[in-house]
Symmetry: C2
Subunit: 305 residues, 2 copies
């Protein structure tokens, strides 16, 4: 129990600990060489919360508000005016596609170094609308412990997220102990700008949407091999778990089921954010572990600081 103190002693915890033991014990028929021990983690809803909206989207809305003074024209142009007017109804109705201009306006046209500073400054000041916590204090303590446990057993821990790669890199090393080169996320273009002080600009050119079938593609692009373990929480992670668990040899897939409306948020099949439907239907037949937050976790968030 000492390894995973925020996990209750249930089947989910036992399945994880057993798998790690079987794959790391020399002479075990399921032994996996140290270099092949790779565990991948979705981020939104798997390592931190994602309600009422993906936190990166809340960042983009805050960023529009911060930049509004420099863009007086936004007061009359959709979708920006909805943000300035706090018209959440129109924003939600526009859907992800209708809000792409907001992502472009808040994520491109700056250097990667400038963007990192912007994200870090935002994280330091912003508070979640429901919990009033810092967003990076809404990470899941049991998952932080799990990553430490896996690394102690020779597993490399990687993020494979639909969120933006550079957005994640700005904070995940401090929060999860995952260095920038182990962060796979969605990304748009990059452009090298030479001169006295060379830099790399973020552009609007879409390149990888690291969700659904984009997740195995991102994994192959960055890792060049199938992971051994995969953790997700939504149908956007389905293909990542499928790709991982259909490889030869021992494989492990798990879905975090958000069942805890008291300590976090309860949602699954009908949720607009982090919908989990097909995954729940097929987990048993595919041998995937379903982690039930209310049942399996003693603690959800770290103590507030």
């Amino acid at each position: 129990m000492s390894d995973l103190p925020s996990w209750r002693d249930t089947q989910a915890r036992q399945a994880i600990v057993d798998f790690v033991q079987r794959t790391t014990t020399t002479g075990s028929p399921e032994f996996v060489a140290a270099g092949d021990r790779i565990a991948v983690f979705d981020n939104d809803g798997t390592l931190w919360s994602e309600q009422p909206l993906y936190f990166q989207f809340l960042f983009a809305l805050d960023r529009v508000r911060a930049l509004a003074a420099q863009h007086p024209e936004w007061k009359t142009i959709e979708p920006y005016k909805w943000v300035i007017d706090n018209d959440m109804k129109s924003l939600v109705a526009a859907g992800e596609k209708g809000l792409l201009p907001i992502i472009a306006a808040t994520h491109a046209g700056v250097t990667t170094e400038q963007f990192t500073d912007i994200v870090r400054d935002w994280l330091a000041d912003a508070r979640h609308p429901v919990t009033r916590r810092r967003y990076d204090a809404m990470v899941f303590k049991p998952m932080q412990e799990l990553m430490v446990f896996l690394r102690a057993n020779g597993y490399g821990t990687w993020i494979v997220s639909g969120g933006g790669q550079e957005f994640l890199r700005a904070w995940v090393e401090a929060t999860y102990g995952i260095p920038p080169q182990q962060v796979i996320g969605s990304y748009a273009g990059l452009k090298y700008v030479t001169g006295d002080r060379p830099s790399i600009m973020k552009t609007e050119q879409p390149e990888l949407v690291d969700d659904h079938a984009g997740k195995p593609v991102g994994i192959q692009r960055f890792l060049g091999r199938r992971p051994v373990m995969a953790f997700g929480n939504s149908d956007g992670d389905f293909e990542m778990l499928e790709w991982t668990t259909t490889g030869e040899g021992p494989r492990f897939g798990a879905l975090l089921h958000h069942t805890d409306g008291e300590r976090e948020f309860a949602y699954d099949r009908a949720s607009m954010v982090g919908k989990l439907d097909r995954g729940l239907d097929e987990a048993a037949q595919r041998g995937w572990v379903v982690i039930d937050m209310a049942r399996d976790w003693e603690t959800v968030y770290p103590e507030a600081t």
Copy 2:
């Protein structure tokens, strides 16, 4: 001397050893934390030979010949017919652009796993037209030793090559000790194919040309930070060395100058392959070390096996 036995005791070797010592000695004013110690290496002409043509291009020509029986139409279609007729003059005249169909026909439409097997089978059988060696026996022993030396001092070693990412991954772990997730190369699209046996197909869609300004872009995409050391040999590596050595703190850039027509090949400013011109002009003012193969290396290739 024991660390780098294939290097002569010249300024180039001394500059490398001094830099590693300054950046890894606790308390040194130029100490670099272990997690930030990243060294990047070009491959063609830096870690293995590249004359008379990039070896991956020779692979593609061999592959056209191997597939010709399945493609009778190739006998009359350019550029394939030039390969089948061994018309090197027309092939060279067509240039890289004219030969793109050959790259597509030999690198796409197969799964990543199939492609890996194809490359490995080719490497096992193919011989270099001049030396009659296996291609992976034309790697530079001093550079292999250098990578071992750097890793022993906590440096991560990464490949940043204009060559194809999946082509490189098929053999660089065995040859250089560099795992697939530390290989940045040029790449086209990948497509996840689900079903009974999920796989990832290589497509023809161009995505990254990891050469010139594409190298800093590839580095940011995969590493998410500036390297501390960079090794190249051609003007295609210029931006990679520039990006690396214009970062704050201690930085190291080196260019391998192919001066040894007896033991390898001698070429620089006028070469079609691996042209080194601007790099030679600017190395001194930029503080880049020029490694002179004839002068600085005791050994070039490993002993033939």
